[in-house]
Amino acid sequence: MVVQVLNAILAVLIALAAALAYFWGTNWLLDKFLKSDNAAESAEADKRRTAVRPWLFLFPALLFLTIYLVYPVFETVRLSLFNSNGSRFVGLSNYWWAFGDGQFRQSLINNFLWLLIVPALSTAFGLVIAVLADRVWWGNIAKSLIFMPMAISFVGASIIWRFVYAYRGPDQEQIGVLNAIVTGFGLPPQNWITMVPWNSLFLMVILIWIQTGFAMVILSAALRGIPEETVEAARIDGANEVQIFFTIMIPQIVPTLTVVWTTITITVLKVFDIVFAMTGGQFQTEVLANLMYSWMFRSGDFGRGSTIAVILMLAVLPIMIWNVRNANREEGTR
C-alpha cells in the first residue's frame, strides 16, 4: 500500500520532469534552429519564433483538451445517430424515441425544476448568510461551517442526508432526524425518498446544502466591495436596513449574482452522483445525466445514451455561449 502511494509520487515527479523537459527542450530547439546571423533574416526569424512560441506553450494543454473533451463531443454526436451497439445508422430515430419516452420527459421536467430551484435558493441563502455574517462577531466561524459542505463529496453528502431522511414504520423508533421531528409533532412518519413529487425537492436540498457556501463566499466578497459611502449616504437619508439591502446593495452586486447563478446552474445540469446515490433515478426523480448513465450502462444502448448526452449538451449550450461572450467581452476591454 505504501508502495502504491510512493509509485504515485514517483509518477508525479516523472510527469513534472517530462513537462519541464518538453517546455525547456522545445524552447531550446526553437531558439537554436530559428536563428540567423544575417540581420534581415534575423528579423524574419524573430517574427516566426514569436508566431510559433505561443503554440509550444499551448500544445500540451490543447492536446489533452482535444482528445478528452473535443473528440468525445463529436464521437457522441456520431453514436447518437446509430443503433444500440453502434452497428447500424438509424438517423434521427433515437431523438424521436427520446421525445416520445415518458421517462425522458420526466427527466427533462425534473432537470428543469432543479434548474429553477437549486441555483435560486442557493444564491438567495448565500446572499442572506453573507449579509448576516458581516453583522456578527462570529461571522467568520459561521461562514466556515456553512462553507464546509463544499469539501464533502456528493456521495458522502448523500449518506449524510440518507440518514436525515431515514424512514421506519410508524410502530418503530425513528432514527432519521426529519421523521423524529415529524413524529414528535404527532404526525405519521413519511418515507421522504419515495414521496412523489416532493422527493425531488428533498434531493435538491442536498445540492443547495453544498452550493450555498459557494454562493456565500463569492457574494460576501462582492458585498465588501460595495463602497461604504453609498450605504452610509442611504442610511443618513433615513433608509432602513431592508431598504438598503434591496435598493443599494443588490443592484451593485448584480454582475456577481449572475456569475454565481450560472456557475451553480452548470453544476445542476450535470448533477449525477446525488441522484445515483439516493434513488438511482427511481420514484420519478430521474434526471438527464443519470438517465444517460442508465441507458448506456444498465441497458447497454449507446445510441440512446449518446442521444441523451447530446440533448444535455444542447441544454448547456446557451449558458456556454453566454459564458464565452462574457469572457470575450473581458478580452475586449483589455
Binding site: V5, G176, A277, N328
Partner: protein, 401 residues
C-alpha cells in the same frame, strides 16, 4: 460619488451619537441577525454532527434510537435460549434446568417474557408457568431456574425474552470494521494514489497555456479562450465511453489493460484543465504589466519570464487551483469508476461508499464511519487552506480576483 470621506467605522460612530434612536434599532437588528445566523448554522451543521456522533455509537443502540439520544440509557429487547431437556438435573425430587440468560454484563434486566410478541410480559422474579411444563423464575442478575416435579420432556431449547436497559456505549469498532473488513482502508490508499498525481500534473501544463493566453499575442487567442471557457461546461459523462475505447485501442495491441491509474491520472488532468487554464489566466492577466515589459526590455525570453517571474508570482492561484482539483478528484465517483474499474483493489472511497450503501444499507454505524473517513482528508485540506480556496473561487468568478 459622495462627499463623505471619513472611514466607515467612524461614520457609524458619528451617526449613532447624533441619533440616539439608531443605537437601539441597531441592537434589535443585531439580535435578530445573531439568532437568524445561529439557526441557519445549526441547520447546516446538524446533519454532519449526526453523522459523526452515529459513527462512534454502538451498533445495537444506533439501530434502535436516534443519535440525539446518544447520551441517554437505551432499552433493548433480546432473547436467550434456555437449557435443553438433556441438561436437567434432579434436586430433591424436583427436576431443574438452570443457567444465565445474559452474556453481556452491562445490561440491567427490567422484565422477562416467554413470547417474542410480549418480551416483557412478566416482572423480574415472577413465577412463570411454562407451556412445556414447570415453572420458571428469572432473577435480577439474569440467572434462571426452571423447575418441575416431573421430568422435562421437550425438544429443542425454548427461548426466553427480556427487556433490559443499557448505558450509552461509544466505540471505535465501527471504524476498525469498515477500514479492514469492508475495504475502506484500501480505498483510502487508492483515493490518495489517484488524487496526488491528478492534482499536481495539470498545474504545470495549465500554467504554460495560461501564460500564453495572458501575455503572448497571436491570432486566434480570443477564440482559444472562448473554446476553453466553453469546454468547462461539457458534461464529462459523454467523454467516458469514447475515451475508454480509445484507451483500449492503445492498450490492447500491447497486451495492456485499458483501466488503470495512468488512465485516471490523464483523464483527471484533462478534465481539470479548462478550469485550471481559466483560473490561472485570470490571475496572470492581473499581474503588473510593467514588470513583464521591463524584463522584455532586458532581453528575457518568454520562457525565462514565465519560469522566473510569473510562476512564483502566481503561487496563490496555483495553490487555489490545486485545492480545487484535489477536492474534485477526491470526491469524484464516475471517472474513477469507469477508468479505474471496480475491482476490490481498485475502488476509490466514493465508489466504496456506494457499495456500502448497497450491501450495508441499514448498518448505519458502518455507513457513517465510512462516510466520515472519506471526509477527513478533504476537510483537513479545506480548513487548513481555506484562505487560498476562497481566493481561487474569487479569481474564477469575480473579475480580477
Amino acid at each position: 460619488m459622495s462627499t463623505v470621506t471619513t472611514s466607515a467605522p467612524m461614520a457609524a460612530a458619528a451617526t449613532s451619537q447624533d441619533r440616539p434612536g439608531f443605537f437601539a434599532r441597531l441592537r434589535i437588528g443585531r439580535i435578530i441577525a445573531n439568532l437568524a445566523l445561529l439557526l441557519i448554522v445549526a441547520i447546516w451543521t446538524f446533519p454532519t454532527v449526526g453523522l459523526l456522533i452515529s459513527s462512534v455509537r454502538d451498533a445495537d443502540q444506533l439501530a434502535v434510537s436516534g443519535w440525539w439520544t446518544a447520551l441517554t440509557t437505551s432499552q433493548s429487547q433480546g432473547a436467550s435460549r434456555l437449557g435443553a431437556a438433556s441438561t436437567q438435573a434432579e434436586e430433591g425430587g424436583l427436576y431443574v434446568i438452570s443457567g444465565d440468560i445474559f452474556t453481556d454484563d452491562a445490561l440491567a434486566l427490567q422484565a422477562v417474557g416467554i413470547t417474542s410478541r410480549e418480551p416483557g410480559g412478566f416482572a423480574v422474579g415472577d413465577v412463570i408457568e411454562m407451556p412445556q411444563g414447570g415453572e420458571l423464575v428469572v432473577s435480577e442478575d439474569g440467572a434462571y431456574r426452571w423447575t418441575s416435579p416431573v421430568a422435562f420432556e421437550f425438544s429443542g431449547a425454548p427461548r426466553v425474552y427480556y427487556v433490559a436497559s443499557e448505558p450509552p456505549v461509544f466505540t471505535l469498532d465501527n471504524y476498525v470494521t469498515v477500514l479492514t473488513t469492508d475495504g475502506v482502508g484500501q480505498s483510502f490508499v487508492n483515493s490518495m494514489t489517484v488524487a496526488i498525481p491528478a492534482t499536481l500534473v495539470p498545474i504545470l501544463i495549465a500554467a504554460f497555456a495560461a501564460y500564453a493566453l495572458a501575455w503572448m499575442s497571436f491570432p486566434g487567442r480570443g477564440w482559444l479562450v472562448a473554446l476553453i471557457v466553453g469546454l468547462m461546461v461539457v458534461p464529462l459523462q459523454m467523454s467516458l465511453i469514447p475515451i475508454l475505447r480509445l484507451y483500449n485501442g492503445i492498450a490492447a495491441p500491447f497486451g495492456g489493460q485499458a483501466q488503470g491509474y495512468l488512465g485516471v491520472w490523464l483523464a483527471h488532468t484533462a478534465f481539470g484543465l479548462p478550469l485550471a487554464v481559466f483560473l490561472l489566466r485570470n490571475y496572470m492577466v492581473g499581474l503588473p504589466r510593467e514588470i513583464m515589459e521591463s524584463a522584455r526590455m532586458d532581453g528575457a525570453t518568454h520562457f525565462q519570464i514565465f519560469t522566473t517571474m510569473v510562476l512564483p508570482l502566481s503561487f496563490p492561484a496555483l495553490a487555489s487551483f490545486a485545492i480545487f482539483q484535489f477536492l474534485w478528484v477526491w470526491n469524484d465517483l464516475l471517472v474513477a469508476l469507469i477508468f479505474l474499474g471496480s475491482q476490490d483493489s481498485q475502488l476509490v472511497l466514493t465508489g466504496r461508499l456506494i457499495n456500502l450503501i448497497g450491501t450495508r444499507g441499514n448498518n448505519w454505524e458502518l455507513l457513517t464511519a465510512g462516510a466520515f473517513i472519506s471526509m477527513i482528508v478533504p476537510l483537513v485540506v479545506f480548513f487548513s487552506l481555506q484562505r487560498y480556496f476562497v481566493r481561487g473561487l474569487l479569481a474564477g468568478s469575480v473579475k480580477g480576483g
